[in-house]
C-alpha cells in the first residue's frame, strides 16, 4: 500500500511537471515524430531554468557556436553600453563609418535594425557585426567549446536582456497592452533576433544551420519563455528551405508554437508541408506525394501549394501586422516569374472627388484648331479611369467634374499583358465641341496619362502628348492638332468606312492609323519602366475613335486601395518595378493575386509593408482560405 501511494505520488508529480512544461513536451514530441537522434535543449521560463538536456553524443560545432556567440552577444553588449551611458545611442554611424552616407543612422540602429529603405545594403548581418566590433574595439570571439557552455551563455545573455532595464519586455501581469509588439514595428532585426508575430504575441527567433548542426533559438516575449535547442541537421526541414524564411517550416518551432499558441489551421497546413518535406528528404516519395496532395487539397489547390517543394526566388514568409520586410534577390538573366501574393484591400468611393488621382486617361479637346487664341473655358475634358465603369466629363466651366450620367460615348478596356492596358473609345461628334465633324477638318486636343503607383489614389506623374510642363492644361494654344482630312497637319485621323468594335481589342481597321507617342512628362519625371503610352485616332461621320495604349508597371484600378503594400523595386535605383494589386473587394477584405511577370537581369528587392490589420487575429474579416500570408516569387519557364 505504501509503495502504491509512493508510485501514485511519483505519477502525480510527473503529471504536474509535464503539464507545467509544455515547451519540453513539444520538443520531445517533435523529436519523436521526426526521429531526431540527438537533441540538446535549454528551456527558461520567467528567467528560471525549467528544463535542460544535453545530448552527449552530439559533437560540438565550435565554429557555429562562435558565430552564434557573436550574433547574440554583440548587440546585447552594445545595448548595455548605451544603457550605462558609456556610448551615446544617438551618435550617428557616419562619424564612425564615413562610408555611410546617411547622417540619420545612429548607433542604436545597430541593435534595433530598421528596415530602412535607404541604407539596407549596410545592414547585412556581417556588416552589423563588423560595425559593432569596431565600436566595441573588440576582435571576433573564439566561441565556446560545447553546447552546454553555449546554452548557458545564451541563457545568461537572455536573462540580462530581460532584467536589466528592458523596456521592451512586456510583464506578464494581465494588464492589457494598447500597442502589443510595439518594439518590433518596422524593424528588420531586433537585438540579433528575427521577428515573428502571431496574434498579439511577439516571438523572436533565430536559426543557424549548417550541414551538420542546427541551432534553433526561440523567445516568446509575452510568455517569458526562452528556448535554445540544437540537433543534427540531418533530413529535417529548416526555416530557410526553399528560400522561404519561414519559421513555421521548422518542425521544432512549429511543434512549440502549436503547444504555446492558440490553434490555427495555418499550423496544420505547415505541419503537412513539413512532413512532406521530411518524407521527401528521406527518400519516401510516395509518402511525400501523399502529404503534398493532402496539402494541396487542404489549401483548395492554391497555386502556392503547387510550388510547395520548389525553391523561391524570394519570399516574405509569414507576414504579421506592422511589418516592413525587404528581401533582396538577384537575377542573372531575364527571368520569368510566377508571383503569388496576398493582402488586404479596401474599397473606396473617393474617386468621386478626384478621379484623376487614379490611373487615368484625360482627353482634352477644343474646336479652335487652326485659329489661335481659343478660350480655355471652352475646353472639354473626358476622364477615362482604367477599368472603371463610369467616365467623367467637364463640358463647360459651369459644371464641376462629375461622372457623366447621360452620354453616348462608348468605350472599352483591354489588358493585353500584365503591364499594358488599352482604351478604345468612340465619341459622338455631337458631344464634341462644335457638335459635328469640324468644317476645317481640324480639332486641337491633348491627352494626359495620369499614373499612380504605390498609393493607388495618389497621382504621381502625368505624361502628356502636347502640353508642356508649366503650360496651362486647359489652354488650347498648348494642344496638338488632329487632322481629319489629310496627313501632314498635326496627327492624321483617317476616315474609316468600317467602324471598329469598341471593346479595347484593336480591330484591323486600326491598322489604317499610325500611333503617336505620348511621351512629354507634364508632372514629375517618369521612366519608361514606370509608364509609357501612345495613341491613334480614326473617325467617321458619327464618331471620333480613340485608341490609347499604355504600358504601366503598376496598373491601379479605380476605387481599390491595398491596405498592405507588396512590391518589387530595383535595388540600385529604388524604382518600383511591380506592385501587388487588387482589382476587386468583396465581403472579405483579403485578396490573392497570381501573376506572371518577366524581369531582366539585375538586383531587386521584394518588399512587403503591412498595416496593423495584417495578422492572424487582426484580419479585418476572415483570413484567407489558404496559406498565403505574404508573397513569393518562383522562376518559371515562359
Amino acid at each position: 500500500m505504501k509503495n502504491i501511494k509512493f508510485l501514485f505520488f511519483i505519477y502525480a508529480i510527473s503529471l504536474i511537471s509535464c503539464n507545467s512544461n509544455p515547451e519540453k513536451q513539444a520538443l520531445l514530441q517533435a523529436k519523436a515524430v521526426y526521429h531526431i537522434s540527438d537533441m540538446s535543449y535549454l528551456i527558461a521560463v520567467n528567467n528560471q531554468l525549467a528544463a535542460t538536456h544535453y545530448a552527449t553524443s552530439l559533437p560540438p560545432d565550435t565554429a557555429l557556436y562562435a558565430y552564434i556567440y557573436q550574433q547574440f552577444s554583440l548587440p546585447a553588449e552594445l545595448n548595455r553600453l548605451m544603457t550605462n551611458h558609456q556610448i551615446k545611442a544617438d551618435s550617428t554611424l557616419y562619424s564612425l563609418f564615413p562610408a555611410i552616407q546617411s547622417h540619420q543612422l545612429k548607433i542604436k540602429d545597430l541593435v534595433c535594425v530598421p528596415a530602412s529603405q535607404d541604407e539596407f545594403k549596410l545592414f547585412t548581418e556581417n556588416n552589423i557585426q563588423q560595425m559593432i566590433r569596431t565600436i566595441l574595439h573588440s576582435s571576433p570571439v573564439s566561441g565556446t567549446s560545447d553546447v552546454e557552455a553555449l546554452f548557458n551563455h545564451l541563457y545568461q545573455l537572455d536573462k540580462t536582456f530581460d532584467t536589466e532595464g528592458n523596456i521592451y519586455l512586456p510583464p506578464n501581469d494581465g494588464i492589457p497592452q494598447v500597442f502589443p509588439g510595439w518594439y518590433t514595428r518596422n524593424l528588420l532585426s531586433f537585438f540579433g533576433w528575427r521577428i515573428f508575430k502571431y496574434e498579439k504575441q511577439t516571438i523572436l527567433w533565430q536559426c543557424f544551420v549548417n550541414s551538420k548542426t542546427t541551432v534553433l533559438l526561440l523567445k516568446f516575449m509575452d510568455q517569458h519563455i526562452f528556448i535554445a535547442t540544437t540537433y543534427p541537421t540531418g533530413k529535417l526541414p529548416s526555416p530557410f528551405d526553399n528560400n522561404t524564411n519561414d519559421l513555421l517550416r521548422s518542425p521544432i518551432a512549429l511543434s512549440v508554437m502549436q503547444q504555446l499558441l492558440r490553434p490555427n489551421p495555418l499550423f496544420h497546413l505547415k505541419d503537412l508541408l513539413n512532413h512532406a518535406a521530411f518524407a521527401e528528404r528521406n527518400g519516401d516519395s510516395t509518402q511525400a506525394k501523399t502529404y503534398y496532395t493532402n496539402y494541396r487539397t487542404a489549401t483548395g489547390d492554391s497555386i502556392l501549394s503547387r510550388y510547395a517543394n520548389q525553391p523561391a526566388i524570394a519570399a516574405t514568409g509569414y507576414i504579421p501586422d506592422n511589418i516592413n520586410v525587404f528581401i533582396p534577390f538577384q537575377l542573372d538573366s531575364t527571368t520569368h516569374l510566377q508571383v503569388i501574393g496576398g493582402g488586404q484591400v479596401m474599397a473606396t468611393d473617393d474617386y468621386n472627388n478626384a478621379p484623376y488621382q487614379y490611373d487615368n486617361i484625360q482627353f482634352f479637346i477644343h474646336s479652335c484648331a487652326g485659329k489661335p487664341g481659343g478660350d480655355k473655358k471652352d475646353t472639354r475634358v473626358y476622364h477615362f479611369n482604367y477599368r472603371f465603369n463610369k467616365i467623367g466629363g467637364v463640358r463647360d466651366d459651369r459644371l464641376p467634374d462629375s461622372w457623366m450620367k447621360q452620354t453616348r460615348i462608348r468605350y472599352g478596356w483591354d489588358d493585353p499583358t500584365d503591364t499594358t492596358y488599352v482604351l478604345e473609345a468612340a465619341i459622338p461628334w455631337e458631344e464634341l465641341p462644335g457638335a459635328q465633324l469640324p468644317p476645317s477638318g481640324l480639332l486641337c486636343a491633348n491627352i494626359f496619362i495620369g499614373d499612380s503607383d504605390w498609393n493607388e489614389n495618389q497621382r504621381e506623374s502625368i505624361l502628356s502628348w502636347a502640353t508642356k510642363p508649366g503650360q496651362n492644361w486647359e489652354d488650347p494654344a498648348t494642344f496638338g492638332t488632329l487632322s481629319f482630312r489629310k496627313p501632314g497637319n498635326g496627327i492624321y485621323s483617317p476616315y474609316t468606312t468600317q467602324p471598329p468594335l469598341v471593346d479595347g481589342k484593336p480591330d484591323t481597321v486600326w491598322q489604317n492609323a499610325a500611333f503617336s507617342a505620348i511621351n512629354q512628362p507634364y508632372s514629375n519625371q517618369v521612366s519608361s519602366r514606370d509608364i509609357s503610352a501612345r495613341f491613334k485616332t480614326l473617325h467617321d461621320h458619327h464618331y471620333l475613335y480613340l485608341l490609347v495604349e499604355v504600358t504601366d508597371n503598376c496598373k491601379n484600378k479605380t476605387g481599390f486601395i491595398t491596405k498592405d503594400k507588396c512590391w518589387i523595386e530595383d535595388a540600385s535605383t529604388r524604382e518600383l518595378v511591380w506592385k501587388l494589386n487588387a482589382d476587386s473587394a468583396g465581403p472579405t477584405p483579403w485578396f490573392i493575386r497570381e501573376q506572371r511577370i518577366s524581369l531582366p537581369a539585375g538586383q531587386y528587392i521584394l518588399r512587403y509593408l503591412s498595416d496593423k490589420g495584417y495578422s492572424n487575429e487582426g484580419w479585418y474579416g476572415k483570413p484567407p482560405v489558404n496559406n498565403i500570408y505574404g508573397a513569393a516569387l518562383y522562376s518559371i519557364s515562359k
Partner: protein
Amino acid sequence: MALLYTASQNNAYMKIPALMALLTCLACTPRKTTLETALETANSNRPALEKVLKHYAAPADSLKYRAAVFLIANMPAHYGVGGDAVNRYAAVFDQIDTAALLASHLSNEEKSAYGEALLDKYGNPDTTISHHIPDVRQVSAGYLISNIDLAFKAWQEAPWYKKVSFENFCEFILPYRVRDERLEYWRSGLYNEMNFMTPNASDPSNIRSVYDYLNWQLNSETNFNIFFNRYFPFTQSLGDVVKGRIGSCEITSFYATSAMRSAGLPVAFDFIPHWGSTNSSHYMTHLVGDFNTQQLITNENTTKNTWHLVDFSTDIADYRHLFTSAELPSDLYIDYIRTIPKVYRYTFSVDTALAQINQTIPATYICPVFTNTTIRDVTEEYITNTTVTVNLQITAPVAYLCVFDIGGWQPVAISRVNGHQATFTKMGKNVVYLPTIYKNGEHIPAAAPFYLDSLNQQHVFATGNTPQTSLKLIRKFPFYPYTAYHSEILKGARFEAANDTLFTHPVLLGNIDYYPFYMNEIAVNIKNSFRCFRYVAPPNANFEPDNIAEIQFRDAHDSLPLRGKLLGKPGVAGHEINKAFDNNLDSYYQNAENRNGWVGIDLGPGNKARVGSIRFCPRNDTNCILPGYEYELFYWDGHNWVSLGVQIAKGYALYYKAPVNGLYWLRCNSGGREERIFSYKDGKQIWW
C-alpha cells in the same frame, strides 16, 4: 525614527541610498508616512510595490527611486473605473476599429450606429455598474517599472531635459494614468509613435515648438468632435481612444496629454468645470513650465482672439469681418467670447486643501466634483481673477459658487464657511455666480445670484417680483460670431426676375447692401409681372460656400410666398435648393460649387406674378424668436425659476412684463436646448 521601508532587508547597504533618497527628496515627495500608508493600503499587492522600490535601490537609480516613491505614495488616491460590465460596452471600440479599417472614412454617425447596436443588445449603460479598482491593489511591479523607465527615457533623451524640473517631471510626465481610465500599457507604443512625429515640428529641439506641433496634430488628425457618452458613459481608456477615435474635447485632450507625456513633454490635463457664459465644460492640454506667454484672459467681450490661450474661449476668425455696432440692430450684440469662471488641473499628487476638506467635513456636504482630491486650482495661470467674499443666508461647513446650466446650477468653486461668510479665491470675472451649499445630493441657494464685473464689484440681481419693467426679447441664446459670419455671404447679393429660366434679360428687384441678421424684408417697387425669380449670391464669395436659409418672393396682392419649380445651381447633399424655399429657418441651401451660385423659382410657362416684397434670412442658429413657437419666460426669485407666462410668438420678438434688475431665462417649449440666462439693460438682453 524607524526607516519605514528598506530596499532590501538582507542587504544593509541598500538601506543607505534608500534613506538618502528619501531624505533628499522630501521637498518633492510626500512624507514617509504617506508612503507607508500607501504600502499598508496595498494589502496583498504590497510585495509588488516593494519590489519596485527594491528595483531602484541602487545609488545610480536614486532619482528613479524618488519617482517610484512619488507614484506609490500618491497611489491610494487613484483608481481605475472598470469591471466586466464596462468591458462589455467597451467592445464598441473594437467594432469601430474593425469597421474603420475596411472603410476609407467612418463617419461619426456610422460609429454611433455601432453604439446603438450595442445598446440594443445590452440596454442603456448605467454608470453604477462600474467598479472602482484601486491602483494600490492592481498595479504590478513590472507595470510600474516599465512606466518609470520609459518616462525617464523620454525625459532624459529630450533636448529640453534640463529645462524640466524633477517636480514637473513627476507630476506631468511620470504618471502612469491621467485620470480614472482602465490601466493599460500605453507609454511604450505612444513613445514609439511620437518618435515618428516630433521630428516634423518646426524646431524639434524646442519644447514649445514640439508641443504646439504635437498638440495640433493630435487634435486635428483624430477629429474627435462628438460626445459618445450615451454609448460609453465611463472614462475611455487609451486603448478605447486609439481604437474608437470618437469623443469630445475631453477625449482628445486626454489622448494628447498621454501622447505628449510619452514623448517627454510635461503636459497637464486641465479643465474648465463649466463655462461661465455657455453650457458644458471644457478640457485641454497645457505645457507646464516657463514655456508659455504671460498673457491672461480677461473674460471681457472684446474681439481679441484668445484661442491660443484656451481653445474655444473665443470664436473669432481673424480673417472674417468684424461687425461694428452700426452694422448690427440696436438690440443685438455679438458675444465673441466664452467666459471662464475656474480652471482646474488633474494632478497625480493629492491637493492638500481638498484632502483636508474631505478628511474633516462630512461627505454629505461635499458635492461629487470636489471629492476628487487630485485636482488643483490653476485659474491664475489662465485668467485675471479676484477673491470673492459672500454673505450666506443659510450655512454649512462648506459653500459653493455655481454657474448656470440649463440642467441646473453647476458648482465651480468650493470654500470653507466662516460664520456666515465664505471666501472664494481666484474667481473669474464677468460671470454670474450663485452661492450655494450642498446637502444630501443637491445644491441649495444660499444667497442671491450676482455678477462679478471687471472691477471686482458684485452686482446682485433682484429676486422680488416688483417693481416691473417691459422687456423686448429677440433671442434665447447669445449671438455668437460663428452665426453672425453667415450674414457676410449675403451682403452684395441681389434678387432678379425674368421671363425665361435662363434669365436672359434679368430685371433687378433688389440688392442686399448691408449685413442681414435673421429674417429681413425688402420692398419691391417693380410693377411688372415675371415668370421666374431668383436670388444671386455675391460674386466670388470667400470664406464659406454660398448659402442662405430662406427666400420668400411674396406676391404683391396677397403677400403669400410664391411657389414654383425650383431652379439654380445644385446644392450639396442635405442642403439642396428646396431648403431655401421651405419656410424653415433651420435648414439652408449650400452651393455645391461653392461660388457664384443662384437659386430661384419658375412659375411655369404662361404664369406670371408681381412681387411686392422679398423676405430672406441667412443661415442661422434659430435661437431668435420664431413665429409660431411657444416660449416661456422665467425669473429667479432667490430659490427657483418662476414663470412669467407662456407666449406663442407672433413675430420675431416677444414682449413681457418682468421684475426690474432680474435674472431671466427664456425657454422655448417647442424645442431646442440652446438657452442661457440674461439680464436686461438699455433695451438689450445681456447674456450670461
